[in-house]
């Protein structure tokens, strides 16, 4: 059998890749995709714990996390579209209007 630590380790590595992708990329779309990466890694952890602790509450929480991720992706992309209408670029370092 696969030990539980392997699943948690895989989830930690994918979460770290999501964090790094969010911090280093300029394109807002890739940043939103890194957020989805982080949410998916947390889902893997929850389902692994739910399997190894023989409880179903982890999977119920995964259900809600997928729902909230869908809602947040929709709103994030709507914000991106209205931002793109004003400035015609999707790079974070060119959004400087609020810089003091």
């Amino acid at each position: 059998m696969v030990p539980l630590n392997w699943y948690i380790g895989l989830s930690a590595v994918i979460f770290m890749i999501g964090v790094v992708g969010f911090l280093i990329r300029r394109n807002i779309l890739i940043m939103l995709m890194s957020i989805e990466l982080m949410l998916n890694s947390v889902n893997i952890t929850l389902v692994a714990f739910s399997h190894y602790l023989q409880d179903l509450r982890g999977q119920v929480l995964v259900f809600f996390i997928i729902t909230v991720a869908a809602a947040e992706a929709a709103i994030g992309l709507a914000i991106l579209i209205s931002l793109f209408r004003n400035k015609a670029v999707v790079h974070t370092d060119e959004m400087k209007e609020m810089k003091g």
Partner: protein, 169 residues
């Protein structure tokens, strides 16, 4: 042994696909690698005896969220993305932050103490099907969070339409 081989393939493929997602110049390529990653994560859920969650992952993530991303990427239609600079100015700091986060989390992983076991063993979930097991827990014990989740989806629908609507002036 076969278990570990399959899990090893899914794990290595997921990590490689995540690295490909965050590093491509063309956003369409990133979205397509994300599709492959979602299928591999659904395979990991099948490994963990969670077939309803695997189906929901493919339907919702690969079928709805990814298509939404692809629509927005195609609609923005940025020709200069393949030649623009990919990484921001502070990219070494980002990698250092990510690596230190991984070191911290690996300390927590090695000191894991498993809690008490619950009642839904693998045999019991397979006897009544997994969908029925999740339904029995979701609609009795977690009914209120379920209603809140539907309110969140309603807010997302209304908010997305309000934000992305063209003003008629």
């Amino acid at each position: 042994m076969l278990h570990r081989l399959f899990f090893g393939y899914f794990a290595i493929a997921s990590v490689v696909l995540s690295l490909l997602i965050i590093s491509r110049k063309n956003p369409v390529h990133s979205v397509l690698w994300m599709l492959a990653l979602f299928f591999h994560i659904a395979g990991i859920y099948l490994f963990l005896n969670a077939e309803f969650i695997a189906a929901v992952q493919i339907i919702l993530y690969a079928g709805a969220i990814l298509v939404l991303f692809l629509f927005v990427v195609m609609m923005l239609n940025l020709k200069e993305e393949v030649t623009a600079e990919r990484f921001g100015d502070a990219w070494p700091i980002g990698i250092v932050v990510g690596a230190s986060l991984l070191v911290l989390v690996s300390f927590a992983i090695t000191r894991l103490v498993q809690g008490p076991l619950g009642q839904y063993s693998v045999e019991r979930i397979q006897a009544m099907t997994h969908t029925k097991a999740i339904g029995m827990v979701l609609y009795t014990e977690y009914l209120f969070p379920f209603e809140i989740a539907s309110t969140i989806l309603l807010i997302a629908i209304v908010g997305a339409i309000v934000l992305a609507k063209k003003s008629k002036d």
